[in-house]
Symmetry: C2
Subunit: 407 residues, 2 copies
């Protein structure tokens, strides 16, 4: 669908006449949600010439704020999720250019590093599983090197003495999601994206089409097209006919940030400890991020004693020296999960409405691919078939209704 | 020494003429340090008619802020520290009246509870040690009831199933130190105590006597008598002849605060876990405080991954249900330790100078006794001999110099 001109009409609820008067400005797209997905779409769409408004009461404060930023499509998926793997690999390939353009547009360095993940094992079973991962990576022509425990410790001297072996996934990369969000806010702003710091309560439907959003404070934003990129909250908006919204649910994750010295770790380090996957992500300035729990707790963002306990317990088994580091922050975020762990990206059955949510653990990784795909959809371009994002991520697989335009 | 009139002379370093002009107001005492000890002294001294100034850049932000507030003199001491025990029991007896007067003077409820400590044991050795504690308490005519594991869990249903037995110390009490500090600030203010929110860098000595303090910003506070109640920092002040300052060192403690439901625990719960003593202190509003590490780290107030890990590990072994609770805060504080674990309270060898520091883990417990003793010293009254605070806590035991006035 080609972009069409639209009016932004904001009725602010409070009495300041300077801001309460209706604003009229042509706008093509309203993106609901200012996390890494929503901001990436807004930035890309604006770069293609669309006028874009992003609505979020507190941009980059949700799952983006709690993400570690690993760009590790292989080690993050299971073997049965090959479509997701294809998306991840395609988006990983776009990250270097995405990061470079973003830095150029914003002046913000996003701490993009491609120094690899060292996945380690303590027991024979873990070691065998890592060996299978290495074989799988080799089949995909991804570099994967098996290492002995001694070789692992040579690469990462802070590793626990009990590490028996590991696999170095040299192509794995990571970014600092908070810097990415900061960069996206700046870059989108320079491209003319308008940010409305208000909560969206509903999609406005006029006749058969989405024509904007209603704000919790009472105002509205009118737009030619509406993109729901509000993560775990995508399923909670009012105003839409039954069956239009995808089944997105919150999957809680708790992380902890530590202050290390630069060089404390040289790679992302991960391992299976006490049956769950734990990781440490080092930033260039020495910060170390410990992640992450996966909890089905509904819309609960409490940092809990048990969550922190498990993060600390697992991290110190991998890298005992973390105990000496200062704790600089803890946060819980809600990942948008879907029944098949694959995102929901593309046109809804309702004209004028698109989805870009359900990215679960992969929002940062999949942002470049998602943004390019959605921006192409918004401008009426062809999103491309490699990988076929529109098919893999189609909302219709859950709603049973074809996307508008697929008929 | 009788209180004498003195001038407060504050030369503020920055240019605001309204505050930079010298203030002249009669004052008798300058208390260095606005924690629970310094504020208690200031409040009591002001109630006795003295004019008092407290100097602290950030009152109640040190050890007081990180204290759990247990008033548990028996379970906190070892058997070899009988003088300290005498101080603790005497101060515990003063707490109910102290709390009542404080609330009356301030309007602030300090959450004083006297519901007892339940000390629990997992192993036979722990159980035997608890039995000895119970015998010791009985010898002191303090109520101590031995309980089976089942009886413990009947009293505290959240206790771990592995608890084999315990001792209920029914006289143990606790307060919320942050509320105590808030109450003291209000009560002292109502009694006319003046608060100077600046860092003290030195004691001013004129001739042979302390005559005030120098502020880090360059000003001075002149006072007839100076009380050093600045905790772990008491030994760091400039300006005094060698041998006057007591050997106080920082002993780091890290605590964690959790949000529980009111009634989550009905008693203080403590136990020896992994060789160190862990405790949980419940507040009336449901907050649960986990404490506390004891670390010799110098002036280091970093909250560390290892510190939090041990707090969480030990607390969940005692009360597994803490894992579900929200973490509302973590903090590290520095207790003022002395070589014999006994405070330093009373007149220094230098006329006009007094100490009230070195309270280590007992600052909150010992505040009423310390304040009454020091206030009596400041007004030239007789501090009393039961217990003989002046003898037990004399600075002379470290400095080898008799207190001024003891000659």
């Amino acid at each position: 669908m080609p972009a069409k001109g639209a009016e932004i009409h904001v009725n602010l609820p409070h009495g300041d006449p300077a801001t309460a008067s209706p604003l009229t400005r042509p706008a093509d797209v309203c993106v609901v949600g200012g996390g890494v997905i929503g901001l990436s779409i807004a930035w890309r769409a604006a770069a293609l010439g669309l006028s874009v408004t992003v609505a979020d009461p507190s941009p980059a404060s949700g799952a983006t704020h709690a993400a570690a930023g690993m760009l590790a499509p292989v080690s993050e998926v299971t073997y049965t999720e090959e479509p997701l793997l294809r998306l991840g690999l395609a988006s990983l390939a776009r990250w270097p250019a995405f990061a470079a353009e973003l830095t150029e547009d914003s002046g913000v360095d996003v701490d993009h590093r491609a120094d690899g993940t060292l996945a380690v094992a303590f027991g024979a079973d873990d070691l065998a599983a890592l060996g299978e991962l290495a074989d799988f990576m080799a089949k995909l022509s991804l570099p994967a090197e098996r290492l002995t425990g001694r070789e692992c410790r040579r690469l990462e001297p802070m590793l626990a003495p009990g590490v028996r072996g590991g696999v170095l996934a040299a192509d794995d990369a990571w970014v600092d999601p908070r810097r990415v969000a900061e960069a996206l806010l700046a870059a989108a702003g320079r491209r003319g994206v308008r940010l409305v710091r208000e909560q969206v309560s509903a999609v406005v439907v006029d006749g058969d089409a989405a024509t904007g959003v209603r704000l919790a404070g009472g105002g509205t934003i009118a737009a030619g097209q509406v993109v729901l990129a509000n993560g775990a909250w995508a399923g909670t908006l009012d105003g839409l006919p039954a069956g239009v919204l995808p089944p997105v649910r919150p999957v809680k994750g708790q992380i902890m940030r530590l202050r290390g010295a630069p060089g404390f770790l040289g790679h992302c380090v991960r391992g299976v400890v006490h049956g769950s996957s734990a990781y440490l992500v080092p930033r260039r300035d020495g910060e170390v991020v410990l992640g992450a729990s996966q909890e089905e707790m509904g819309f609960d963002t409490r940092v809990t004693a048990g969550g922190l306990y498990e993060l600390l317990r697992d991290a110190r088994e991998l890298v005992p020296g973390v105990t000496e580091l200062e704790v600089t922050g803890t946060v819980a975020g809600l990942r948008p999960g879907t029944p098949d762990n694959i995102p929901v990206i593309g046109r809804a059955s309702l004209p004028g409405l698109l989805f870009a949510t359900g990215h679960h653990r992969g929002g940062v990784l999949l942002a470049p691919l998602t943004a390019d795909h959605v921006a192409a959809e918004l401008t009426g371009g062809h999103p491309g078939d490699d990988p076929p994002v529109g098919r893999i991520c189609s909302p219709a697989r859950f709603t049973g209704r074809p996307a508008h335009g697929d008929d």
